[in-house]
């Protein structure tokens, strides 16, 4: 198994990420600000729909600016995460994102089989028979418990339709 090398490996700087996060929250605050003004943020015999989110957004923007300033003041050296570590994170994040992106069109079962296969074969280096057993077993378990016992329909795609489920 690949192990992250601890020590002086390079990586994105904590300072940059702090600044980025502050900008992100600031941007979010501005969107909320815009949205609440659009529905009316005044006091019309009581607070209007946008009153509460408006002030929330104001405070959000203010504090984001404070965080931005303190981010700018931070030392330049500390590393957010080493590239090796980030690679590890991406190894999960990318398949997970693909998985989530597949769900709307393929339902939840088929992508789940793929996800578990990818994890076990590619990351866990398991043998195919075990991987296939787990990959089919887990979705089958959820199909039986949720759809059959508790009558909760989960999203399904063309493959389930083909099988007539």
């Amino acid at each position: 198994m690949e192990q992250a090398h601890h020590g002086a490996e390079a990586g994105p700087k904590q300072r940059a990420v702090e600044i980025g996060t502050a900008l992100l929250t600031l941007g979010f605050g501005l969107i909320v600000l815009y949205g609440s003004v659009a529905v009316g943020a005044g006091w019309d015999g009581g607070p209007q729909a946008g009153f509460f989110p408006f002030y929330v957004a104001l405070i959000l923007c203010g504090c984001s600016l404070l965080n931005l300033v303190s981010g700018l003041r931070e030392a330049r050296e500390p590393v957010f995460a080493e590239y090796g570590q980030l690679r590890q994170v991406l190894k999960v994040l990318i398949p997970a994102c693909i998985y989530v992106a597949l769900v709307p069109s393929f339902g939840i079962y088929f992508p789940s089989v793929l996800l578990i296969l990818v994890f076990m074969i590619w990351l866990g280096h398991y043998k195919w028979p075990l991987a296939i057993a787990v990959a089919l077993g887990v979705p089958a378990f959820f199909y039986i418990t949720l759809e059959r016992w508790f009558l909760i329909p989960l999203p399904k795609g063309p493959i389930e339709a083909m099988l007539g489920l």
């Binding site: 198994m1 192990q3 992250a4 904590q14 990420v17 996060t21 929250t25 979010f28 605050g29 909320v32 949205g35 609440s36 529905v39 006091w43 015999g45 009581g46 607070p47 209007q48 729909a49 946008g50 509460f52 989110p53 929330v56 405070i59 959000l60 504090c63 965080n67 957010f80 570590q85 980030l86 590890q88 994170v89 190894k91 999960v92 994040l93 997970a96 998985y99 989530v100 992106a101 769900v103 709307p104 939840i108 789940s112 996800l115 578990i116 990818v118 994890f119 076990m120 990351l123 866990g124 398991y126 787990v134 887990v138 959820f142 949720l146 508790f150 009558l151 909760i152 329909p153 989960l154």
Partner: protein, 506 residues
């Protein structure tokens, strides 16, 4: 006094009904189903009870409510399991359990954490049932005092006792909380009936459900953090010790103060009816301030599991009382049970205790028995669940991802929520790495809408006069407590200074 004796008499008959073998069997089935429902993603107590409700049509009302309420207790017990093991709270009131429960699991103490959680749940629920037995009618009267202004005061108190205690920079704590409030505003504004912050996207009609945020922030975020440190789950080293239950029990009695305090907070919040979620947060916040080990909360303190679990279950149980006596559901699950009562031909309300004494006291007796049966059942599963953490990460991680996705979908039967969950996951990783606390964000999403609603209802009532929050003894004393709780850190600091200066001259 007569009233209490009368109640005991009724209760005695109730036990006669509840201990009928068929009803005991229903209890065991209910608890087991409930635990499964609590553990399975997205199948919260409310869903579980709603799904099984039609099955109870052919039973007697007493048997039916015993089955359904035991599913509820089981789901409450089960909710703690995923919180501790995977950092995924299945219900709003399990969120505070993750703060110390999951760190315990990571350091190989999952068995201890689960035992503490289950036992505390039991203690909290039991305390609340005793209270219901003794003073049910009085309590129902007290609940009637709570209009919008009083409710807002309770939420204010819950916020005030939880905030102002994180070690993260204040500006970051505030940003985190404000993000939560803003997300909670998205969707339909209940008071004006207007859509807000949806920007014309029909996907946003529903707003951001707390569960989606929590599954993403806590569940997915946790997986990403774990990956950063290499492919292993640190709980893997955990030894499975069948005696863990006894060992943990020996340590629990020394938290009796925390436990009692949490019981009282829980009962009070359950009746008011603010509900179990603020109770758990408030109890955790106060325990953190009062405890000797307060500084270590969040790193796996067993007391940090005891406090929220006790309060949540005391509240969850106490919330049954306003439901029966007044017909106001204290929780979504109670709302479904309420629907059940109507379908079985019982009308909850002031006359239920008089006209349907057999049903009411049968139910109360079944709460006693159901919780005892439940505790025994779930404790036997502790070693089993602790063993799950021994499964290698490359198998358990994709399974958790699938569970998260199913959970996110089933909240609103909406595929868009699954995408949102992933966004929250990345956000959770980012915020955690940059030192933003996540708890205030979650607290704000959970309580924000109710607090805003109560605030605005109160102002509609008063015609816009803010003085409504000081207009009577009840509301002003709760607001006063809230203010004290909010500035407590300052008071504590002042006391420490005073003691410091008075010590020096001596």
């Amino acid at each position: 006094m007569d009233m209490i004796l009368d109640n005991f008499n009724h209760l005695y008959h109730g036990f006669g009904i509840a201990s009928d073998p068929f009803n005991i069997l229903l209890m065991a089935i209910g608890i087991l189903l409930g635990v499964i429902i609590g553990v399975l993603p997205g199948l919260g107590g409310a869903n579980g009870v709603a799904i099984l409700l039609p099955l109870t049509f052919s039973m007697s009302p007493t048997s039916a409510i015993i089955l359904l309420s035991c599913i509820y207790w089981g789901a409450l017990f089960g909710g703690a399991i995923t919180s501790v093991l995977f950092n995924i709270p299945g219900e709003p009131w399990s969120v505070a359990t993750t703060f110390d429960g999951h760190p315990m699991a990571r350091s190989g103490r999952a068995g201890e954490a689960l035992t503490a959680a289950f036992t505390s749940s039991f203690v909290g629920a039991f305390f609340a049932i005793v209270m219901i037995t003794l003073i049910a009618p009085l309590v129902a009267q007290f609940a009637l005092q709570f209009g919008p202004a009083e409710k807002f005061a309770v939420y204010f108190l819950a916020f005030a006792s939880f905030v102002g205690m994180s070690k993260e920079p204040p500006a970051k704590t505030i940003v985190s909380m404000m993000i939560g409030f803003a997300l909670a505003c998205v969707g339909l504004d209940m008071v004006t009936g207007q859509l807000r912050l949806t920007f014309g996207f029909t996907e946003l009609l529903n707003g951001f459900d707390f569960l989606i945020a929590v599954i993403g922030l806590f569940g997915i975020g946790e997986i990403l953090l774990t990956m950063e440190e290499g492919l292993e789950f640190r709980g893997k080293a955990a030894k499975i010790d069948p005696k863990v239950v006894w060992k943990t029990w020996k340590t629990l009695p020394k938290f009796w103060v925390t436990s009692l305090r949490s019981c009282v907070i829980g009962c009070w919040m359950g009746i008011t009816p603010a509900g179990a979620t603020p109770a758990s947060f408030m109890s955790y916040g106060i325990a953190k301030r009062m405890s000797k080990n307060g500084k270590n909360f969040g790193n796996g303190e067993i007391e940090g599991v005891v406090a929220p679990e006790t309060a949540a279950h005391a509240a969850g149980t106490a919330a049954m009382l306003p439901m029966l006596a007044l017909g106001v559901p204290g929780s979504p699950t109670a709302a479904v049970l309420l629907g059940g009562l109507l379908i079985w031909g019982l009308q909850p309300g002031p006359m239920l205790f008089v006209e349907q004494a057999e049903f009411v006291w049968g139910l109360i007796a079944s709460m006693y028995l159901g919780n005892i049966v439940g505790l025994i059942l779930v404790l036997t599963t502790v070693p089993l669940f602790a063993a799950i953490l021994r499964i290698p990460f490359s198998i358990i991680a994709p399974v958790i991802l699938v569970i998260c996705a199913i959970g996110a979908y089933t909240v609103n039967n909406n595929v868009f929520d699954v995408l949102m969950m992933m966004v929250f996951g990345v956000l959770g990783y980012l915020l955690k790495k940059t030192n933003y606390p996540l708890a205030p964000l979650v607290l704000a999403i959970v309580l924000g809408p109710s607090a805003e609603e109560a605030f605005r209802q109160a102002l509609l009532y008063s015609g816009g006069a803010v003085s409504v929050f000081w207009s009577n003894g009840l509301v002003s004393s709760i607001m006063g407590l809230g203010v004290i709780a909010g500035i407590w850190p300052l008071i504590a600091l002042l006391f420490a200074k005073l003691r410091g200066t008075s010590a020096q001259p001596a």
